[in-house]
Amino acid sequence: MIDRKEKILKSLIKSRANWLNGKGPLSDVVVSSRIRCARNINNIHFTSRANKMELEKVFKIVQKVFNENTIFSHFNHLLLDKLSPLEIQFLTEKNLISRDFIQVNNSHRSCIFHREETLSIMINEEDHIRIQLLSAGLQLKKIWKQSMKSMMKLKKK
């Protein structure tokens, strides 16, 4: 998946995020809704204190879930260490990763995101795992339920 970096980025340039379609509930007053959930794996230092091995461990755990679970078949995976500053900036502008994600100097940072750009998972940001969901209009309850589902899938592994 990671080898397809160029292809993924090219498709991102062409595509428009689904949450920008302006069709959600109350879209005349609410542009988009966003929920972020942060989780840390037990017995591993938080990213600010974790060493390279621990960060790699977090990365491998999430990568394993990503590779083995069919729900991630419509997702892309990008390693931030393999991206240029401009490409990272592009992901930030697409709201797939946070600005803090650029500034944290952790190794094994990566981002998993849905092709429709509605769900993204940041690995080794300020927390081990950060799930972000975006939707058009006011749909907080709906995306909260979705984020919990994604979280449960990760927890089971």
């Binding site: 840390n40 037990n42 017995n43 230092h45 938080f46 600010s48 204190r49 900036q89 600005r99 650029i102 100097n105 300020e126 919990m148 927890k155």
Partner: protein, 159 residues
């Protein structure tokens, strides 16, 4: 305090910047703040930062808090990740899950300011749910026992 840039007008705005865990503070006036923010790139434009808020609250607790222990025991350290309380004050970030245990007394007023409570009552993993419930039940019963015991002692004293 005078503005640290123009050194003429009264400073009314404080900028906090944390780079590699080091906090810098600049006190500036409104006019210089406009020039200052214009100089910053779009990536570093001042935005709401939870860590800055946390650091601000921590300093308030240190200045105005009644807990004198905060001043005395600044060398307090987490035995798991070796993060000191002072480092936490500077960066506003904890190092591991054990930090909550080692800095418990100092985190309590902060969490109460943030969330109104220091105990998590919301969603939690199913694996630990029973254990957490049992622990909170034990804690509640201990408190009740303590209250009952104090009451009984008081009654004895009154006799």
């Amino acid at each position: 305090m005078l503005c640290q840039i123009c050194k003429k007008k009264k400073a009314g705005i404080i900028f906090y910047r944390i780079i590699n865990g080091k906090k810098t503070e600049i006190n500036i006036c409104e006019e210089c703040a406009v020039l200052f923010t214009n100089k910053l790139s779009s990536l570093t434009l001042p935005q709401f930062n939870i860590n800055d808020l946390l650091i601000g609250l921590l300093s308030t607790i240190d200045f105005y808090g009644k807990d004198e222990d905060v001043f005395i025991n600044k060398e307090l350290k987490c035995a798991n990740c070796h993060l000191t309380y002072e480092e936490f004050r500077q960066a506003g970030k904890l190092g591991c899950s054990q930090c909550y245990r080692y800095f418990k007394n100092r985190l309590k007023p902060l969490l109460i300011k943030f969330h109104g409570n220091y105990q998590h009552n919301g969603k939690m993993p199913h694996k630990i749910k029973n254990m957490v419930n049992r622990l909170s039940e034990v804690s509640r019963l201990k408190k009740e026992l303590n209250v009952a015991f104090t009451g009984r002692s008081m009654r004895k004293l009154l006799k």
